[in-house]
Symmetry: C2
């Protein structure tokens, strides 16, 4: 396995020529600096000791910084306009990071691994372990497939995208039907983030291979339903977005998925979970539609006014508990959303709603959410 | 159809908050500038008259430019560090563009549509027409699926990625086998570029719906086989990359695809074409493996030393012509690679190799390559 792991990091980290501006030249006289600019740089470079060097060329800049889930560092100009800094050693994991060039936020132009998001200013860094991690591709494991779809949302009157993970053997076992997890992303993300940075597909492959999770279909939707770019801070607009998302999910996404894939369609075969903004959405959609979902979760969730929002669910604990196979609330102890999640946990306890509150290490970040997914999948569709 | 078309442009064009640095805030006191920085901007904005406004915030910059397939423009600072310029009207099409901020090349941080490439410095701009274009999603047409795979390449000893388009009804017609087109990208691209910017899947959907193309499987590979970042200009390294690509394609990709999908595996059911660097690869792999491919094409191809490279093919015109169903060489009259493509056409003619030379308008750009694909697909698997 090791050679494959190492290559993942290297593949994503070596700089290219200048893309749009550079075109392949086939004349012998036009070999390097003319058409192509300065030679390519390598960033990020992951060293054997798990320190990581970032590099970026910005000859006219006065200050360049790198920041990510590992902190924030000032970079040093080598005198030619090539800025660099070495951080770490870092824990083996996948990270997001970006540069600030005189205050201009940018992804790493030398790194082809871009975090899918509404504002593409974040690159991805893979620090491999000696052993494959739960989110790594393993050559000795059977792999599912990620499928891309665009669908016209009748509820929203616009084109939308989603990704669907089908488990290994989906194409071969042409009579088997599978349970479905709806997996929602956060405010800065889009429908591609749970695979690109979340590695949901490889986490599922690895768990299924070890018989730790049931083979399942995972549907990853686009959580930005009302606005391509929800203005931050306005509660009204967040509510509008959540309502639009719910309509799209129930009226368009679920019928599309159930018509296109061999899904099981009983409520015990449907789960929903999301992170941050998507945690607010998954709790809202899930708990308000217990006729459709028996497994509900939220990671680092944006939970607001739960007493009002979940009045029906909270008001009849017996009925709620009868329907819920699992209600799973996870939050990191350094998460800025810990307080509302704790309060929600206390509220559920006070009202007698059976649930689990998973208080973990870590904050509001993808390394934490990947681990939550690896904990949540084995709990699903087990009874 | 019109509402859907318009939304494509808008979806890709509206700015987001600051991504990595911005996290959803749920406290009423923390609504706008504090955590989130300045309000989001809209870029690109496509106006009704098909002019397009680009905007980027760079308070400390002295000069900001936008450049793309529509030209190169200096942007204007409004005094607050918000730079903008309006270009066009542009022909309805999909374009790539990027900014230069004091010489620092960057994609548009307000545009979620990133061109997949080794060096992510290019954003995508969609200028819709009144009528849906051949590359547009149409709600009234049946759609295929794009599937993502990672595979361990035994030939190269590393993990690689590919995308596979399956036609509409692939899942339903579970006994039908399909012919396969191998579709290769250019030097600045990766395996995702033919769908993201090339829209190969929607071009195929639209042609199949009109019965202008046969239902087929399209395999889009990663052309950077020997190096994550081939140093430009060195003929040796290009040769090494082409040879590595060929081994990976023949030894790993084709067996993987034929084991995973219901493909037809006779040579008359296999085609290969690519653009630029990928055109050099498709001509090289295709013409040297006429036992495997009966349909071969090259778009704006990097053709070097064809007399030496294709000595076998050129030396026995009768055998070559018997095997080739179609050899299709396309180049734009403004392409910087026109001369070697013309020379290749003349060489083929001189040696009596049956082929078509398609001299088109335009240069070395994606709008041209999309049109070539829409011309090539209807020619395939027809006899």
């Amino acid at each position: 396995m090791k050679p494959f792991l190492l290559v993942i990091a290297v593949t994503g980290s070596i700089a290219a020529s200048d893309g749009l501006w550079a075109q392949p030249s086939f004349s012998a006289t036009n070999t390097s600096f003319g058409r192509f600019g300065p030679p390519p740089i390598i960033s990020p470079e992951v060293h054997a000791d798990r320190t990581v060097t970032f590099r970026v060329r910005a000859p006219k800049a006065g200050e360049v910084r790198v920041s990510g889930e590992f902190g924030d560092k000032v970079m040093t100009n080598d005198g030619t306009g090539l800025w660099s800094v070495t951080v770490g050693p870092l824990e083996p994991d996948l990270y997001g990071y970006g540069f600030s060039v005189d205050g201009f936020r940018t992804l790493d132009p030398a790194n082809s691994s871009v975090k899918p998001m509404r504002s593409p200013t974040t690159s991805m860094l893979d620090v491999p372990d000696d052993q494959p991690l739960m989110h790594d591709f393993r050559a000795d494991v059977a792999h599912g497939t990620v499928r891309l779809h665009t669908y016209p949302s009748r509820a929203l009157g616009k084109l939308r995208r989603l990704q669907v993970y089908t488990p290994p053997d989906y194409d071969r076992k042409s009579r088997t039907r599978y349970p479905v997890l709806y997996l929602l992303h956060g405010s800065g993300d889009n429908e591609a983030t749970w695979t690109a940075l979340g590695r949901a597909h490889w986490i599922a492959d690895n768990l299924i291979a070890r018989h730790l999770a049931k083979p399942l279909i995972i549907v990853m939707t686009d959580g930005h339903a009302a606005f391509a770019n929800p203005p931050p801070g306005s509660g009204d607009e967040r509510t509008r977005n959540r309502q639009a998302f719910q309509r799209d999910l129930i009226e368009d996404v679920m019928p599309f998925v159930e018509a296109s894939y061999r899904t099981r369609t009983d409520r015990e075969s449907r789960a929903i979970i999301g992170l941050s903004m998507g945690g607010g959405q998954s709790l809202s959609v899930g708990l308000k539609h217990l006729d459709r979902f028996a497994w509900v979760g939220g990671m680092s969730s944006g939970v607001r006014d739960p007493e009002q929002m979940f009045a029906g669910v909270l008001g009849d604990a017996q009925a709620t508990n009868q329907k819920l196979k699992l209600l799973w609330i996870a939050c990191g102890q350094d998460d800025f959303l810990l307080k509302p999640n704790r309060q929600f946990d206390e509220l559920l306890t006070a009202r007698g709603i059976r649930h689990e509150f998973r208080l973990s290490e870590g904050g509001h970040s993808w390394p934490v959410w990947r681990r939550y997914l690896a904990e949540f999948l084995p709990r699903l569709f087990t009874k």
